[in-house]
């Protein structure tokens, strides 16, 4: 601080506007929702204070809540354990084998900038029954694999995986871009030195790229986890949480409860659980990576 030679008050004055906006848009709503999570309230009329009743009901009585949690974590799991590693692998391959990678990376990134509504409609058409021109079922049929055809979005057991696949496909490019940038930032001298020592190809990746890209990988993992917890739009567009709650995740359950079923208080309680999960997960992921960091440094 003293290096800057400005008084603390000046610093405070410059930070203040941003701080106020941040507190006003993030912390105040969270506090309000903590309060409204304890109300029995339809969002319009009078409300009654019910304490933790909403939470008790959520954890013990709500037949949709736990399956939604499970699906949310399934999505997060696929995203962190499948999508991010694939993205890293692709990023490594691009760095190594592609001379002008920009075009390729941009193409992978393309789905990210498309509106989810468009992606949802696109994939709905792809998943359609063959009689409605669905591409996947059409291909399966023409290969003589009729028994493999499904109505991908309406069979309760597989519908959520069909959506997860779309989600993975859409954000793969996002993570490739992040990893790719991370790898690019590793100084080439290290690789040259390693080459002299006999570490080349995938060996170099194992002992240089992976440890060096770890902080970036952490960002990717945290982003994909939080993104999965918040996943909502794709599900709304593709199935609306149906059939019969089979593709409901926490965020869509919260939305349905708050605005469709008009239990605003209960919806807020779900939102609070979601916030808590995000916080806990972020802390856990941070701790995990700190350990990994120590091991490699």
């Amino acid at each position: 601080m003293n290096v800057l030679k400005v008084s603390r008050w000046t610093i405070a004055a410059f930070i203040l506007p941003c701080l106020i906006v941040y507190v006003g848009l993030v912390f105040v709503p969270i506090l309000v929702s903590l309060y409204s999570g304890m109300l029995d309230w339809n969002g319009i009329g009078k409300s009654t204070f019910v304490g933790f009743h909403n939470y008790v009901k959520m954890f013990t009585h709500d037949s949709v809540f736990w399956p939604s949690v499970r699906r949310t974590f399934t999505l997060a799991g696929f995203s962190m354990l499948v999508q991010v590693p694939i993205a890293l692998f692709v990023a490594v391959l691009i760095t190594r084998f592609v001379r002008r990678p920009n075009f390729l990376v941009s193409s992978y990134f393309l789905p990210v900038i498309l509106s989810v509504a468009i992606i949802g409609q696109l994939w709905k058409t792809i998943y359609n029954p063959a009689s409605m021109g669905g591409m996947i079922n059409g291909i399966l049929t023409s290969l003589g694999l009729e028994s493999w055809t499904h109505s991908w979005l309406t069979e309760p057991k597989i519908a959520i995986y069909s959506i997860i696949l779309v989600s993975l496909w859409q954000y793969l490019g996002y993570h490739i871009l992040i990893q790719f940038t991370g790898i690019q930032n590793i100084p080439s001298e290290i690789y040259e030195a390693a080459k002299i020592d006999g570490a080349d190809g995938f060996k170099a990746d194992r002992y240089i790229t992976l440890p060096m890209v770890l902080p970036i990988l952490k960002i990717s993992i945290v982003l994909s986890f939080i993104g999965s917890l918040q996943s909502f739009d794709l599900i709304m567009v593709m199935t609306g949480g149906g059939p019969a709650h089979a593709t409901e995740v926490l965020a869509s359950h919260m939305y349905n409860m708050s605005f469709i079923t008009m239990k605003y208080g209960y919806g807020s309680a779900i939102a609070n659980v979601l916030i808590a999960m995000c916080l806990i997960a972020t802390v856990l992921i941070n701790a995990l990576f700190n350990r990994l960091d120590k091991r490699y440094s």
Binding site: L153, P156, M236, G242, T261, M262, K263, G267, S268
Partner: protein, 456 residues
């Protein structure tokens, strides 16, 4: 037309946490801008003439509505009436807030939470508007509806659905019934006749299916569509209207044989292969489009769909007919219909210009039937229409629908107009689940009863 729920794509923001999400109400929001843009243009003119003639105060009335589609006759009609009113009352500016149905519902709920209801807004009848009335958000219109004989233009009894404790709170733009549209050509190809009983309907479904013709279509992603059909079956198995009311009065439960029988019949229909594959991923528009493009033989929907089907490809050469939903198991009277009193205009109690707003809405509703008739949108409006439909060029199908209206001898309202939102959601997802797996009807009924007691 009126109560139709145009689900383009999911658009939403989730309240306090403000997870804002991408929207694609392209057509909707675009028109909104146009609409308010037009309003803006008329303002200078209004000011100018006010200065010279009357010293009246300049006021702006916000008119929230669900006619966002500029190609929809309702939208053109609304603009026409609004323009005429603004010419007559240079000091009044009507600002249009045109949204599609789902956006409007969400917006109103958000506005209601902060007590910022627009001067005029749109609500749905009976149980759906109850929370708003309980929150004391709307102005009673008892005096206004008497002015200029507006009350007498409405069909008898229709205003009851918008009346609470003797106070009328909203004026409906529509009144519809549930009917079955059918594609004459496909029915002929399949060699089936218009069914007069539910059992014949099942047979027809199987015959059509056997010949590779899609028997029926439905947009079950919007689960109210299946519920609407289901409720019509219930209206028959119950031997008449009033089942839900009996449940509310504690005289019956959802485990009543009539309700279980209705689930059974509905399951039979689904299991017979009546509906298209993947029905639960088709939204309302997508489902209806299958019928409109001639891909299905039958389509159960409210008569608000008449306009859209009439102008579609499939209706060429009078190819589409309508019939009443048949009896189920020999029970029920086909002259009892699913009734769908439409969405309705309500006025905010806290409106800054309450009197002017009332005057405008009075004018609007008085001119509504005439303009609707001219725009060929008068099938299924809530007011009486003077005029010869046939001579005005309405299609045979529209005439058929109008004839069915004359047969109506009572009926039931949709589930969500009778029950609270919590029970409604349980019912909707229960009905939707019948599309994807075969369940024990008694079990489904039991679950709903539990949800009902939970939400009481």
């Amino acid at each position: 037309m009126t109560k139709r729920k145009m689900k383009w794509f999911g658009m939403a923001m989730t309240g306090v946490l403000a997870f804002s999400l991408s929207a694609c109400g392209g057509g909707g929001s675009g028109t909104t801008n146009n609409a308010s843009g037009d309003g803006g243009k008329t303002e200078p003119a209004a000011n100018a003439s006010t200065d010279s003639s009357k010293p009246a105060e300049n006021i702006t009335i916000t008119f929230q509505n669900i006619y966002p589609d500029a190609s929809d006759p309702k939208n053109q009609m609304m603009k026409k009436i609004v323009d005429a009113y603004e010419k007559e009352h240079p000091n009044v500016k009507i600002e249009l807030d045109s949204l599609n149905t789902d956006q409007q519902k969400l917006k109103l709920k958000t506005q209601a939470a902060s007590k910022e209801v627009p001067d005029i807004t749109v609500v749905n009848p009976a149980a759906q508007m109850q929370p708003f009335v309980d929150a004391d958000l709307f102005a009673p219109l008892n005096d206004m509806v008497e002015q200029n004989g507006l009350k007498d233009t409405f069909q008898s009894g229709i205003l009851d659905y918008y009346t609470f404790d003797g106070n009328l709170y909203a004026l409906p733009d529509g009144n519809n019934i549930g009917v079955v549209y059918y594609n004459k050509k496909l029915m002929e190809e399949g060699g089936v006749k218009v069914p007069t009983t539910f059992e014949e309907m099942l047979e027809a479904v199987k015959t059509l299916k056997g010949k590779g013709i899609q028997p029926m279509v439905i947009g079950e992603k919007d689960s109210w569509t299946g519920s609407f059909l289901f409720m019509n079956i219930l209206l028959r198995t119950n031997g008449g209207p009033g089942f839900l009311k009996d449940v509310l009065d504690g005289k019956k439960t959802f485990e009543d044989p009539a309700y279980v029988a209705a689930i059974k019949a509905f399951e039979d229909l689904v299991q017979a292969g009546a509906f298209q594959d993947g029905a639960t991923s088709f939204d309302y528009n997508a489902g209806e489009n299958l019928f409109k493009t001639g891909k299905a033989a039958m389509y159960y929907m409210g008569s608000w769909a008449t306009g859209g089907i009439e102008t579609a490809e499939v209706s060429k050469d009078g190819n589409v007919g309508v019939f009443q939903f048949p009896t189920v198991g020999g029970k029920g009277n086909p002259d009892e219909f699913m009734l769908a009193p439409g969405s309705a205009f309500a006025i905010s109690k806290d409106s800054e210009h309450l009197q002017e707003t009332k005057d405008f809405l009075n004018y609007f509703m008085l001119n509504f039937p005439k303009e609707a008739f001219e725009a060929k949108g008068a099938v299924g409006i809530a007011q009486n229409v003077d005029g010869d439909f046939k001579a005005a060029g309405y299609s045979d199908m529209a005439m058929n629908v109008l004839d069915l209206f004359k047969k109506v001898k009572g009926g039931d309202l949709a589930f969500d107009n009778t029950m609270n939102p919590g029970t409604t959601q349980a019912h909707l997802s229960g009905t939707q689940s019948l599309f994807v797996e075969q369940k024990d009807p008694a079990e489904v009924a039991k679950e709903l009863q539990a949800a009902y007691e939970d939400n009481k």
